[in-house]
């Protein structure tokens, strides 16, 4: 077995002890015998054949004909399996959804199978993180070598752990095939190889306690990440090479390797988001689009002065994520949603996007009802957008009217963009009326979310504003309760912890209900997300990601919701101040598809991280919590950090070299 890059067997100590053969480099006499495979296929004939084949390969096989059952099996035995093989077409859950869930929650290698060998489907597998794709009918020869994926992943995880800036081959292939990218990867790879050799001894020594690396870690703080994202955006995601990013960032003490490693994770994240969106909406393009948006959105949130801070983001994300875990359909959207929050967007563009995204739901949930006035319209928009992406779900609690106040969560229907826009504009005037119609707009969900209602959007979104601050915690650290509700997910746009918004409450509640519908609209969400992300990408952060741009361009639905949200938000925040000007700007620009030059780079702080964190966490959260992620506006950025850290502690598994919990990317399916 080729363990790769010059590493010696001894250096490959894989700390995984759950499987007998997995020791050291995993190469024991038995290996790969005993590999624990979970095979999922609704076709009983295929399933039986696969089982027999895998048994003949001396693997330990568990077969399962339903994706839901597979997921619960995996969850119950976190370390009970080494690899998963799944069919693409299954009646109860799409194979790609399962793939995403497994990748996020368990970080296991997943192999997809299908009789369909069309390029699009195979590509989908790649973008969703499948480590391999088998065409049916599957031959035993193809199964004999699946152990390589397990080893490779462990090796990669280990390498990531140990080395900064490591670029795994597996991960590498997920990167967009840009020359710049490629060359940078290649360079890094070369560097890595030499570094590997150099560090081998050191690594070997540390092998035994990989979990206690002595290397000083770079802590990717929100600000640092913002700088990073800004630099990446400036360069263009496809052209962002670590060296240049490093130069742009100009942070003393930061090494190129740190950047490279972070970049890698970022890309994975983007890709994943993109894949999710794509999957959902069936788009084939733009890797970056959605991911960018989300990323941006998350960061933008954090960047918001308002309290929407990371906490809320986290909450939202958590909510989103949490939700998704329970429902496969949601999982995708959740991811997207997460990002939604981060829109920082005050850019007009953003607004545009939002508008677009707002699809025709006239009802828009004003997620950010309570959002402190500090929130810029853009951010609101972002939130809104997220909300929208969440789904066309019913969020629409309120219809149009006072939407200006809060994030109009528009779940997913792009048609109502203009509507939203109008509504938002109209709502401008509302600002001062905190207690006003904001709620009526159905922002309720958003507001409720704020409080991290821990309840699933099912209907309890109502969280008194005062609890806003608890939201974040709530969402972040709760394994079960993702207060994601606060965010636009389904209308709960946890937007804001408007402290005084009683009125929001009602709306929120209603929104919550609305959001419920959110879950099922997987498609809607994906669609939203897709659109949204596109817009965001372009808008918020001025993302230069090409893909995102394209996506944005494409989508008519751009992030309008977010724009709207922002609008509403700002109005709310200003307590009467009419930020409408801002909002208007946002909106007016809104109809076009976003193109992002919103220089919101600074806002991208930890969206990425948050995203990761949340993603991981979210999976654990029940659906309900999803809606509860109302971001407490009061939560500041510091909270974000704490959230991350908490999450980290919570999950206990994030050990990114950044020392930041956010990088669950390590666990992302590669």
């Amino acid at each position: 077995m080729n363990l790769g890059g010059g590493e010696t067997v001894k250096s490959m100590s894989m700390p995984n002890s759950s499987v007998s053969w997995k020791s050291g480099d995993g190469v024991t006499d038995q290996f790969p015998a005993g590999l624990r495979v979970l095979v999922v296929d609704d076709d009983p004939t295929c399933l039986m054949i696969l089982e027999k084949m895998l048994r003949n390969c001396l693997y330990e096989v568990t077969k399962c004909n339903r994706a839901e059952i597979a997921l619960s099996l995996l969850r119950e035995n976190k370390n009970g399996f080494d690899i998963v093989i799944s069919d693409v077409h299954m009646p109860d859950m799409d194979g790609f959804k399962l793939l995403e869930c497994v990748g996020l929650e368990m970080d296991l290698p997943v192999i997809m199978m299908s009789a369909d060998d069309g390029k699009n489907v195979v590509m989908k597998g790649v973008t969703h993180g499948a480590c391999d794709y088998l065409i049916k009918p599957v031959r035993i020869e193809a199964l004999k070598n699946i152990w390589q994926h397990v080893v490779r992943r462990k090796k990669h995880e280990w390498k990531d752990f140990e080395q900064t800036g490591s670029v795994e081959d597996g991960e590498r292939q997920q990167k967009p095939p840009e020359d710049a990218d490629y060359s940078s990867s290649a360079n890094e790879g070369n560097w890595r190889n030499s570094k590997k050799r150099k560090d081998e001894e050191e690594e070997a020594e540390e092998r035994d306690d990989t979990s206690t690396l002595k290397k000083p870690r770079v802590v990717w703080s929100v600000e640092l990440h913002q700088q990073f994202v800004a630099a990446v955006n400036q360069l263009g995601i496809d052209k962002a090479v670590p060296k240049k990013i490093l130069e742009l960032m100009n942070v003393p003490g930061l090494t190129r390797e740190n950047v490279a490693s972070h970049l890698q994770k970022y890309r994975l994240y983007l890709r994943r988001i993109s894949g999710v969106s794509q999957h959902q909406s069936g788009f084939n393009n733009s890797f970056m689009g959605p991911s960018d948006a989300t990323f941006g959105s998350i960061s933008s949130l954090s960047g918001l002065d308002m309290q929407l801070p990371a906490q809320s983001l986290a909450t939202l994300q958590a909510a989103v994520l949490g939700r998704s875990t329970t429902k496969s359909s949601i999982s995708m959207p959740l991811v997207d949603q997460r990002n939604l929050f981060s829109f920082e967007t005050p850019k007009p563009r953003f607004g545009e996007g939002q508008q677009q995204q707002l699809s025709n739901n006239s009802k828009q949930i004003n997620l950010l009802h309570g959002i402190p006035t500090n929130m810029e319209p853009k951010q609101l928009a972002n939130l809104h957008q997220s909300a929208q992406s969440f789904g066309g779900m019913n969020m629409q609690v309120n219809s149009h009217g006072s939407q200006s106040n809060s994030l109009l969560v528009q779940m997913a229907q792009p048609e109502s963009r203009s509507q939203m826009l109008n509504e938002i504009n109209g709502s401008h005037r509302i600002q001062s009326s905190m207690g006003q119609p904001i709620m009526s707009n159905g922002c309720a969900s958003g507001v409720l979310a704020r409080n991290g209602m821990a309840n699933n959007a099912r209907g309890t979104l109502y969280n008194p504003l005062s609890q806003a601050s608890s939201v974040l915690d709530f969402s972040v650290n709760h394994g079960t309760d993702l207060p994601g509700s606060s965010f636009p997910i389904g209308g709960n746009a946890g937007i804001s912890s408007l402290p005084s918004k009683e009125m929001l409450h009602e709306d929120v509640i209603s929104e919550t209900k609305g959001t419920r519908g959110f879950l099922p609209s997987y498609d809607v969400l994906s669609e939203l997300h897709q659109q949204k992300s596109q817009v965001w990408g372009s808008q918020n952060v001025g993302l230069t990601y090409e893909t995102s741009h394209h996506a944005n361009m494409r989508g008519s639905c751009d992030v309008s919701p977010s724009v709207i949200v922002q609008q509403g938000f700002s109005s709310i925040q200003n307590n009467g101040q009419n930020r409408s000007a801002m909002g208007k700007a946002v909106f007016s620009s809104g109809q076009e598809s976003a193109h992002g030059n919103v220089p919101n780079i600074s806002q991208q702080p930890n969206t990425f991280l948050l995203d990761n964190l949340l993603m991981v966490k979210a999976e654990r959260f029940p659906d309900a919590s999803y809606h509860n992620t109302i971001f407490a506006e009061q939560l500041g950025q510091e909270d974000l950090m704490s959230v991350f850290l908490k999450q980290q502690g919570d999950t206990g598994s994030v050990e990114s070299e950044f020392g930041f919990d956010g990088h669950h990317l390590d666990n992302l399916p590669v």
Partner: protein, 141 residues
């Protein structure tokens, strides 16, 4: 004893199945999986396939009853069935399935209906031949 004779007969039937295109290489994969622990593996799989195919065939029939039929749904159902039949190496059946899917893509309802009859027919023919083969093979075991 007719063992040798039966063996030869079984081999002959088997060879025919391949030569005439009823079975493909996947069937050999199944045969290779058969061992002492599972001495009747191939037959069990084929039986399982035929039992399950009834359900899939029924799905397609129901979908075909609509006029105009939902071609996307038809294509999807047939895709499932095709995957199943390919897993046992049912070559001719698989070919008809592919043809059916082409008609779906062309939204040709008549073509679909016609081809579907072919699919069912090939299924029946294959089943009979395999049953003969398995009987012989069992006797020679």
């Amino acid at each position: 004893m007719d063992t040798t004779h039966l063996q030869r007969q079984a081999a002959f039937v088997r060879k025919n199945l391949f030569d005439q295109g009823y079975l493909d290489e996947q069937f050999i994969q199944l045969e290779e999986l058969q061992d002492d622990a599972n001495p009747n593996f191939v037959e069990e799989i084929v039986t399982l396939f035929y039992n399950d195919s009834a359900r899939l065939i029924r799905n397609i029939e129901l979908a075909l009853e609509n006029s105009p039929p939902d071609f996307a749904r038809l294509d999807d159902s047939m895709h499932q069935f095709k995957g199943s039949s390919s897993s046992i190496g049912a070559k001719k059946v698989k070919k008809e399935c592919t043809q059916f899917q082409e008609y779906c893509n062309a939204a040709n309802a008549q073509g679909c209906i016609r081809t579907f009859q072919q699919v069912k027919q090939e299924l029946v023919i294959l089943r009979r031949k395999l049953e003969t083969y398995f009987q012989l093979a069992r006797q020679t075991a």
